[in-house]
């Protein structure tokens, strides 16, 4: 087992990204529109296939990387999300005249970054991955160059992202100062032997929490989310609402896993942040008329649910598995919900408003059904993956003795159901209005979303395999 073999999937995705860039300069626009997505998907599938051959019992590259079950779970999750994002994009890109090669290359680079976070066993690698993941996303957000909202989204996202990266890095430095190492295992050992937290460790902890909180869009560090999500081209929004969030939580799990000896100090803080995040996201989402913006705020609320499971870290395996399962579930359903907006041709980067969605089920029954399935799942109603994911979060939260947090999750879920179902009301119960946006259903969009919706329901009925996998992936982290 050589070091290089261990990162084979990352190498494949990187090479694919380069090939895509090359391909764009060779192929003309029409050919590129057809073949670049195919190339992207092929590369991603190849990386998926290569994954199982890379498990390494020992750390690679001198202890900077590890390939364990945790890594492979996230790797596969990121690849699947990138695949779905690739499949739903082509017709939108063609319609809007966006640079096709750059789009796919950025998605691929961002995916490599996310995968690197899952590989990291060291603060430095983790930070590297985090930056590699977010920088392409800044560009994706600003891709619609002539659109003011898109520009605003990119700039806002970039400035706040850079700010949070600086905070995070500063926190890592403090952490290094306290423990004398950047290696996760070393940090845990040093903290454990140091006993109760001192003032300096608390500063490090606070800085790291804030920095990672920005990346995951935890209230009150979420301000960039609605504008960035709203201003980005819709297929890019679909991707950036899920993969970076999952990656941010991979980072949170890695870092807070390493900080496990300080649990007494961060459990309550994270639990409080979780409640504030889910409540804040949901309350503001209720007031939105623009569905894209509503989904942006709702994704903040979902951050809160995941954070609740992180706060329950002391419950052990089941807490980490709850996080992983929820991220997978959230990835599928949220990507699906955003991508359903691609059925409608709205001007600029703007998403459809509630009234523009009126009567969608009559105009295009499949689109209406798909959107309804994703929204019902986001609301956490059985038999969908969103429901089991909530159960898998509630279980560790209660096991960790955080009953009030579990009650907060339940009440928030009821509140969230209100605005999700309001969309269903418009889709199914109203008639289409004059001047509703044109429908642009491409077969690829329909097929990929139908497949995702089937997965959302099927995994809601038989989540066994996925949950068992999540439990397995959780094991390396519970040290």
């Amino acid at each position: 087992m050589t070091d290089v073999q261990g990162v084979l999937p990352e190498i494949i995705v990187t090479l694919t990204a380069m090939l895509v860039l090359l391909g764009e300069s060779i192929l003309d626009r029409d050919e590129g529109g057809t073949w670049l997505p195919v190339l992207t998907a092929t590369g991603l599938v190849a990386a998926l296939v290569a994954g199982p051959f890379t498990m390494a019992p020992t750390p690679l590259f001198g202890g900077f990387l590890t390939v364990d079950t945790f890594t492979t779970f996230f790797r596969d999750l990121f690849i699947v999300l990138a695949l779905v994002a690739t499949a739903v994009s082509p017709s939108y890109l063609r319609r809007r005249g966006l640079p096709i090669g750059e789009y796919y290359a950025l998605i691929l680079f961002s995916t490599v970054g996310a995968m690197t976070i899952a590989l990291a066993s060291d603060l430095i690698t983790l930070f590297l991955g985090l930056e590699l993941m977010t920088i392409p996303i800044y560009v994706l957000a600003g891709m619609q160059r002539r659109d003011r909202a898109s520009n605003e989204a990119a700039l806002k996202y970039f400035l706040l992202g850079a700010f949070s990266s600086a905070l995070l890095l500063y926190g890592f430095v403090w952490l290094y100062g306290v423990t004398g190492t950047t290696d996760f295992g070393g940090i845990t050992a040093a903290l454990r032997s140091a006993g109760p937290a001192s003032g300096t460790t608390i500063v490090a902890l606070a800085l790291v929490t804030v920095g990672l909180g920005f990346k995951a869009a935890v209230v009150p560090f979420h301000q960039w989310t609605p504008d960035a999500y709203d201003g980005a081209p819709t297929p890019a929004t679909a991707f950036m609402s899920v993969a970076p969030k999952a990656a941010a939580f991979a980072a949170i799990l890695q870092v807070f896993g390493a900080l496990a000896p300080l649990q007494a100090d961060w459990t309550t803080a994270l639990a409080l942040l979780a409640v504030v995040t889910m409540t804040g996201g949901n309350v503001v989402a209720v007031a939105q008329r623009n569905v894209k913006r509503m989904l942006a705020y709702s994704s903040v609320a979902h951050t809160g649910y995941v954070l609740a499971a992180v706060a329950a870290f002391r419950a052990g395996d089941s807490a980490v598995a709850g996080v992983l399962f929820y991220l997978a579930a959230y990835g599928l359903m949220n990507l699906g919900a955003f991508a359903c907006l691609l059925f409608l041709d709205t001007e600029g980067t703007r998403g459809a408003t509630l009234t523009e969605l009126s009567g969608l089920a009559k105009r295009h029954p499949l689109a209406g059904l798909l959107l309804a399935v994703f929204l019902v799942s986001l609301a956490g109603i059985p038999p969908t993956i969103g429901f089991v994911a909530k159960v898998f979060v509630l279980q560790p939260v209660l096991e960790a003795g955080l009953t009030w947090l579990a009650v907060a999750i339940a009440l928030n879920a009821a509140l969230a159901a209100f605005y999700y179902l309001r969309v269903v009301v418009h889709v199914y119960m109203y008639d289409a209005e004059e001047g509703a946006p044109r429908l642009v259903p491409s077969w690829l969009l329909q097929a990929s979303l139908a497949l995702t919706a089937v997965a959302v329901v099927a995994l809601g009925i038989v989540p066994n395999a996925l949950y068992a996998w999540a439990l397995e992936a959780a094991a390396p982290l519970v040290r």
Binding site: I381, P382, L394, Q395, A406, A410, A414, F418, Y428
Partner: protein
Amino acid sequence: MILSWLVLIPILGLVPLLAVSRSERAVKIVAVAVTLVELAASLVVLASFQVGEAGFQLRESAEWLPSLGIRYELGVDGISVLFLPLTTLLTAISVLYSTKTIKTRVTEFMVAFLLLEVGMVGIFMALDLFLFYVFFELMLVPMYLIIGIWGGQRRIYATLKFVLFTLAGSLLMLVAIVAVYLASGDEGHRTLSLPALIAGRGRFSADFQFWVFLAFGLAFAIKLPMFPFHTWLPDAHVEAPTAGSIILAGILLKAGGYGFLRFALPLFPYGTQAWLPAIILLSVIGILYGAIVSTVQKDLKKLVAYSSVAHMGFVTLGIFVLNLQGAMGAVLQMLNHGIVTGALFLFVGIQYEKTHRRTIADLGGLANRWPLYTTFFMVFTLASLGLPGLNGFVGEFLVLLGTFAFNPPTGLGGFFWGPLAGIGVILAAVYLLWMFQRVMFGPLREAYQKLPDLTPLEVACALPLLVLTVALGVFPQPVIAIIEPSLARILALATDPGVTAAFR
């Protein structure tokens, strides 16, 4: 396997239904056929049920989520076995009646109805709390669509209110279910299987039971609905299409009462004791409040809806006086209310289809034109007000009997609550007879001169309910024999926390 078939038939029925979705007529025929097959299957279950056994029968059990010890576990006892045919019968009637009244998006309507049926039969068979919850929630989305798409003027408001009330309660119940799961054993030995939980209920401390019972109770109280959680009910009923109202009143409300009996009482005896005074108080308030508010209703459908609040008050009262007469009365009241109120909603719907009026003041004199309609409606009205000889009487009488026998060591006893509940029975006679008089008697309006009496289809829908109303009123004994052993066992579990062993 027969119980699994009950779950599967409506799902499998979707295949032919969607296959013929191009023809509305074919869709209707398939939908009616599927519900009739389901009805037959539920009668097979009833026929193969061993009367006199207290335990669960026709058990099916398979692993579902092994890592969490959650099982796909089905079974019926003397209580649930009767709700299955009630559910399938009312569904078949609703679908049959809807073939005439639903004119838009017929395929979607039938799909929603079949999915609804899956949830409804599921809750009465599930022996695993997780499975029960899934079925409980499965009923939600189809009913949401049924009210929201095919409902009346204010359907959107009504359906959102219905869903949000229900969800708020049931999500708290979900938290409680997970809490029960964690308390059920050490890691690796946890379960949500009802028999196992009851056998190990000694692990649930009194304090724990207090809170968990509250969460379960809220979910069931909202569903039932108990005063003061009833406010969604009149809106939902008024706006729902007729078939939706029939199912809502006939089955969905029963999920609450059934949930109390099946899960809350046997699992949490201390919780039951702790919350019992509050529930009895709210039940009696519900009985009186529902009756008084019914009296002043101007809208016929709303009147029937509020009368349900009063009738459901008898159910919770009967359950929580914790003696056999009371609980038996409660179960019979649930069954009979399903039949009678389902029928009342059917007749209000039929009448509305013909006259397009639901305001009582706009009606009148219909008896002159519709002899057949009048006869049917009369019987159901009398059954609803509890006339001896019809089924409504049996349940209310037993509940009152049980209430008078209620004798707690502290607090107010049966001789305080009994007469108050009795007033509710009298008030029921007042508002129902007064309603009947205003709607059916008096001078007939010009506009209604030409309206036809019941059609054969409407008679076919109403006849089974009429037969059951009379039969169960005159001869309730076979039903009581089916219920009694299982109910006695649940009461033994609820009244004595020491009883755990020998629960199958």
